[in-house]
């Protein structure tokens, strides 16, 4: 039971983290109609930046803040230099162009930080367990991730639903010319939105960094998960991304935790130990296939498309 609750919390934490990535992807897709494979590279950059800045400043919080700012800037730079030229082209161009960017960023990171991975230690003040329920301890760091991501989700909700910028974002998604005609600088709006998506990816990367290692290609696996989430949720829908992210987080985590035991009963311990992680990874893709076959536009199709 204790294990189950702990794994549920892990699932929540992972799902919320995935939401940060998926939110950026789905915003960029919904508003600029752009498929951005390089989103995972920004996640990776966030982690590398945080590792470096934390080491330099000696403070995790300061390092994290600087890393977010740096990913935001890199994101805006990428938008101005490359992405801007891809708007309005077909999705194949997006896939190939941003695939090129992945190669570039992977190699750039190798050039700057070297081929070995980095590690970002959990800050000492979070490196402990907290009693959350009688008899149940949980990692303070993971709890902090849950709190931060929930706060960010709330911030996004308010930003998109309650502010002028959010109104422009929603209007821009449905009627580009109109927003332009209202005298809004649509180019700047797009740059900001892309930067925001990048910063969210960077935040996800740096928060995940102490749990996993910081390494080249770390963005490529998780990017696909984030894409699966945006597709399951309905491309362009933040709400859909939120629901789908939690769904995927839970299935992935609980699958990894309990599927092996289930499989061991079925196949025997030896076979299960290798097969289980792989098969539980498959669960998510099976889920996606099932959802898309039933609802080809995802769970929450954005009304405008």
């Amino acid at each position: 039971m204790t294990l189950f609750i702990e794994q549920c919390l892990n699932g929540l934490q992972f799902g919320l983290l995935l939401f940060l990535l998926a939110a950026g992807l789905t915003l960029v897709f919904g508003i600029m109609d752009l498929v951005n494979l390089a989103h995972g590279s920004l996640y990776m950059l966030g982690a590398y930046f945080a590792a470096t800045f934390t080491a330099v400043t000696g403070s995790f919080l300061l390092g994290a803040g600087l890393a977010i700012a740096a990913t935001l800037l890199v994101g805006m730079l990428v938008e101005v230099v490359a992405m801007r030229r891809l708007y309005g082209r077909d999705h194949l161009d997006h896939v190939l162009g941003t695939f090129g960017l992945i190669l570039f960023f992977d190699e750039l990171v190798r050039l700057v930080w070297g081929p070995e991975g980095r590690s970002l230690p959990v800050p000492s003040w979070l490196n402990q367990s907290i009693q959350i329920l009688p008899g149940i301890q949980y990692s303070a760091y993971r709890l902090a991730i849950i709190v931060v991501t929930l706060a960010v989700a709330a911030f996004l909700y308010v930003l998109v639903m309650r502010t002028r910028l959010g109104m422009l974002i929603r209007a821009g998604a449905t009627n580009r010319e109109m927003v332009g005609a209202l005298g809004v600088n649509i180019k700047l709006l797009y740059t900001l939105v892309f930067g925001l998506g990048a910063a969210l990816a960077g935040l996800a990367g740096l928060m995940q960094a102490p749990i996993l290692t910081v390494q080249i290609g770390m963005g490529e696996n998780i990017l696909i998960l984030a894409f699966v989430i945006t597709v399951i949720g309905g491309i362009g829908s933040i709400r859909g991304a939120f629901v789908a992210a939690l769904l995927v987080g839970f299935i992935d985590t609980l699958g990894r935790a309990f599927f092996p035991g289930f499989l061991a009963d079925l196949l025997g311990r030896q076979a299960a130990s290798t097969a289980a992680p792989a098969l539980s990874s498959m669960l998510i893709y099976i889920l996606m296939a099932v959802i898309l076959v039933a609802k080809p536009q995802g769970l929450f199709p954005a009304s405008s498309r």
């Binding site: 897709f29 498929v35 494979l37 490359a82 030229r85 891809l86 082209r89 999705h91 194949l92 161009d93 896939v95 190939l96 162009g97 695939f99 090129g100 960017l101 992945i102 190669l103 570039f104 960023f105 992977d106 190699e107 750039l108 190798r110 050039l111 490529e220 696909i224 894409f227 699966v228 597709v231 491309i235 030896q270 076979a271 130990s273 290798t274 097969a275 289980a276 992680p277 792989a278 098969l279 990874s281 498959m282 893709y285 099976i286 996606m288 296939a289 898309l292 076959v293 080809p296 536009q297 995802g298």
Partner: protein
Amino acid sequence: MSRSFTFRNGVIAALLLVLILLPAYVMLTGDRFLLTLFTRIVILAMAAVSLNLILGYGGMMSFGHAAYLGIGGYTAAILCFEGIQSGFVQWPAAIAVSALFALVVGALSLRTRGVYFIMITLAFAQMAYYLASGMARYGGDDGLAMESRSQFAGLLNLSNKTTFYYVCLALLFASLFLVWRMTNSRFGLVLQGVRSNETRMRAIGFPTFRYKLAAFVIAGVMCGLSGALIANHTDFVSPAMMFWTRSGDLMVMVVLGGMGTLFGPVFGALALLFLEQFLPAMISAMVRPFNPAGAAKAGEYWQIVLGPLLLIIVLFARGGIDGLLGTLSRHLPGSSERGHG
């Protein structure tokens, strides 16, 4: 339509000649490495040709095509592992399993469009990837070695590098011939109509789904066979063959060479693998005059050039290499005074 001699056709003829005569050159110079490289190019060109059938002619943006390389390869390697070494069994089995996989994936994913199609094909490829990592008996993540190459009852010895090269080349030519006939047939015309305007195709009375599915399966089969060749070539299969970035590589080959053109994917495979092979040395050579010590190291970072190059090609040269050759053809003959400007 006209088959007159143009610069482009000249280059294509030269390319085919080089591919055919390569083993002779290798024999003269003893450069075995070149033969290995070209075998790989030929096999991947065949995979790219198959992707081009659905992507270039049919407009179906499949982002999971590398799955078939893995499925074909694994089928051959697993049969070999289980003691069935005959190519007469292995290769048809690779074809059959790929066809089945393509049929299921196609039937489910061709209901979706646009980005959803890109992502669902990707998801199925990831499933295949994780399935392979989960097969403990067949090496899991570490992959599976193929103890001996496919046996053809003494008719062919695939362990002979030159023989193997010619087998691969023959299959590439067969694929090209097949795609050529198909794209000019009624079926091919339907496929191109679907790429161009699927709504209209349905409005004038074509049940487009079944034609798209048929093309999807044919492409899967062709790629599955090239997967069996890859397994023979490297004597090894692993889940990494199916990772989504490999599917990206195949897409890059098709677009780099020229989508929806017969020989485009061959040029694309050649160009990408050449870049992979020789870009490091080129970078080193360029850096050497400025920084002799760092030159060798600089060469390792060749993808930092390849990535932006890809972006530039997408932005400014959508026709790919074939399109470039076409442009040159129009400028070169008869107007030599203008150069190629």
